[in-house]
Amino acid sequence: MRLEYFEMIDRVTSLDRETKRIEVSSVVPQESPVFEGHFPGHPLVPGVLLTETMAQASGYLVLGLMGFTHMPFLMGVDKARFRTFVGPGTVLAVTAQLEHEGSGYAVTKARITAEGKPICDAELRFRIMPFPEGMDGLMRAQARRIGLLEESV
């Protein structure tokens, strides 16, 4: 993870097209400017970044299932729960499940665990839109970085 660059996903572990589920892994860095403020002397990953991590896992799931034809943009977060603290060095296992594929939108349920213990979970909604000019290549490059394209698309 590079928190300050919003690179929340390190590696895609699996993408199952049949069950429409993705599993990814991420390791919280030992140091980050984020921890200088949240909180001084008591580094904790902010809940908003855990939400972003669930959103990115969900987003890559939607991208992979749709074959990178459209871009999912986060439009809603429901039922978000943060169950414990997450500090530097924590190994996160993130899963996202496609719950509903609507016309122009998608709904996922995502959760993060560490060593099998629940960290957080939420229901996320995405608007599905054509890629803004130039974003297609950017997302494909990110997908290659995390091992999504060579394995699944």
Binding site: G102, S103, Y105, R125
Partner: protein, 93 residues
């Protein structure tokens, strides 16, 4: 009024926080009820779930944008309800 309308009106009332009594079959979702596109997607999700269908919002939007259909055809509630009933019937057929 049909049970479909009652269900849809209930969904709109709850999702968009609009008093139920303001919602009639003649209401235009956008012009009369002030529902924006984001809220309409939330409503579409609730309708999809409630009726087990997939509202073809992208197709409708495209038809309206291209001038092939007036927005009232999809966004006045009695028309929306008729289309939901048609989608449910098509699914059951």
């Amino acid at each position: 009024m049909s049970s479909t309308f009652e269900t849809v009106a209930g969904i709109i009332s709850e999702t968009a926080d609009i008093p139920r009594e303001q919602i009639t079959p003649e209401s235009h979702a956008i012009e009369d009820l002030g529902i924006d596109s984001l809220a309409f997607l939330d409503i579409a999700f609730a309708i999809d779930k409630a009726f087990g269908i997939k509202l073809p919002l992208e197709q409708w939007t495209q038809e309206v944008n291209e001038g092939k259909a007036p927005a009232e055809e999809y966004f006045v509630l009695k028309n929306l309800v008729a289309r939901i009933d048609a989608l449910v019937a098509a699914k059951q057929a």
